[in-house]
């Protein structure tokens, strides 16, 4: 072999060898690793302070965060303003703040009860001004927290219930002791007072768990309002049965707002 050709092949081989590290990196990029990144320079990435939900050796339970002391409330959970201010600043709800004017309202908002002759009675109304925005908030929260069991329409056939039915059909032992959730539009819930529904969401009933740690107080009331709205939506009357003035006013509306019956 000529010297020039030999040199050429040597260079090509060295060049190809040089591509090997790139290939290895390429593989590494597409592989899941169970070990965290390896850093030569730490760059103050890990500092001696506690982020939320991190472990600590200081306390016996191994947590850096301290749990709620029973019977106490965090300061930011409660702001005392009057209801007019609430209407002006509905974003307070987003924070889960309970807005309380006085002791009576405090009991009613927090526990769904009022004192009648020294005895607790379930509220028959929602102690927070119910606006369209409030009910819409209830829908959002309902679709997050209630939908898995009770379903979007409240009929008690949510995704988790359907999955359990499937497990049961397959004869899987995982189906467990699941009880189909109650129909929120049936008489069982319809005749409950608002305060009692609030209490069920807060503290659970039967196999239903307590949701007071997952849903802030105001959102729980919003859900109650949405459940009521769902109930109302079931009372469907055909247009022909409506009194004439209403029927007439409906017909004069443009087709778009009436809904043309097509699914989008």
């Amino acid at each position: 072999m000529k010297r020039k050709t030999r040199n050429f092949y040597i260079y090509v081989n060295i060049g190809l060898l040089g591509l090997v590290p790139f290939g290895l990196i390429c593989l590494a990029r597409h592989e899941r690793t169970t070990t965290p990144r390896w850093a030569i320079i730490q760059d103050m990435d890990k500092q001696p302070y506690y982020k939320p939900q991190r472990p600590s050796t200081l306390f016996a339970d191994g947590r850096a965060m301290r749990p709620h002391i029973p019977g106490t409330l965090a300061q930011q959970d409660f702001i005392y303003v009057n209801q007019a201010q609430v209407r002006a600043h509905p974003h307070n709800w987003a924070k889960g703040h309970v807005v309380l004017k006085n002791k009576t309202l405090y009991d009613s908002v927090l526990y769904g009860q009022k004192l009648v002759h020294g005895q607790g009675q379930w509220l028959t109304h929602i102690p927070i001004p119910v606006t369209k925005r409030f009910v819409e908030r209830g829908r959002t929260e309902f679709n997050i927290f209630c939908e898995p069991c009770h379903g979007y329409n409240g009929r008690g056939n949510g995704t988790v219930n359907r999955w359990d039915e499937r497990l049961r059909k397959d004869g899987s032992p995982d189906a467990g002791t699941w009880v189909p959730p109650s129909d929120l539009l049936g008489p069982g819930v319809k005749f409950l007072s608002d305060g009692l529904i609030f209490n069920v969401i807060s503290n659970g009933v039967g196999t239903m768990a307590s949701y007071k740690d997952q849903i802030p107080v105001v959102d729980r009331w919003a859900i109650v309002s949405y459940v009521r709205a769902l109930e109302k939506s079931q009372k469907v009357v055909p247009v022909s049965k409506l009194p004439y003035p209403i029927r007439h006013s409906l017909k004069s509306l443009p087709a778009k707002t009436m809904g043309n019956g097509k699914k989008k």
Binding site: R29, Y49, G62, I144, P148, T177, A209
Partner: protein, 242 residues
């Protein structure tokens, strides 16, 4: 006859030229490219998928069952930190369904129905998407500004075991902080993993508008509506580092 030059490199010294070119040009350039590629955030950070104490599958719970992200990560709209759920949340369903499953041993231990020595202790979940300690990320601010979970965490509803989907380096953060408009969506679609914004009717409903009055440029419109600060403030050091 001309005068002889003072010094001439001998013929054998030709190889020095080659050595010089290779050592000062080719090798450094090669090393720079190799290190930049090998040590890039994309290579180092992405695809970190630690084995968790419970083989919880987001692909099943969030994907197949369609449980909303917020069912477990309840605080995401209200707090800086999107908290992991307490053991109680798992047991909302798992006290009834698959209550005896071997995979849920760590959950039962934490709840107090398993090993007595571990009762009341947290499940030792391992954090996947972790930012450096000098960055103060706020979930509340981002989620309420219409930034989807998807933007930072990837398609979690398709992950059997959660892995880090994005590099989480500063250049990547700034990508969006310099031009947030294309990443925005209506607030109530934040946890929707399949949102495209192409369904005009749905979009109008989300924004409380009608199809006819939909804004031409959704990103710009949402910037205004959600009061997203100027790029100058978004790229200020103090916005993320205190």
């Amino acid at each position: 006859m001309s005068e002889r030059p003072f010094f001439v490199f001998p013929k054998w010294s030709d190889w020095l030229t080659k050595v010089f070119v290779i050592s000062t040009l080719i090798i450094p350039i090669y090393l720079v490219i190799l290190i930049a590629y090998g040590c890039s955030a994309r290579t180092l950070n992405v695809n970190y998928a630690p084995k968790q104490p419970v083989p919880y599958s987001h692909a099943f719970h969030a994907g197949k069952l369609g449980i909303n992200c917020e069912y477990c990560h309840t605080d995401v709209k209200r707090a800086a930190y999107a908290a992991l759920p307490p053991t109680q949340t798992c047991l909302n369903c798992h006290s009834l369904i698959a209550a005896k499953s071997r995979k849920l041993q760590a959950i039962r231990n934490s709840y107090g129905t398993g090993k007595k020595s571990l009762a009341g202790l947290s499940v030792p979940w391992i954090k996947v998407d972790d930012l450096p300690d000098y960055v103060y990320f706020n979930h509340e601010a981002h989620v309420n500004a219409g930034i989807s979970c998807l933007v930072c965490h990837g398609k979690v509803n398709e992950m059997t075991r959660v892995y880090q989907a994005k590099p989480f380096n500063m250049a990547w953060c700034l990508n969006c902080h310099r031009n947030p408009a294309p990443y925005l969506r209506p607030r109530n679609e934040v946890t929707n993993m399949s949102w495209t914004g192409k369904n005009k009717v749905k979009l109008a409903k989300d924004l409380g508008l009608t199809v006819a009055t939909l804004p031409h440029n959704l990103g710009k419109y949402l910037m205004k509506r959600y009061h997203i600060p100027s790029v100058k403030l978004l790229t200020d050091c103090e916005t993320c580092h205190r």
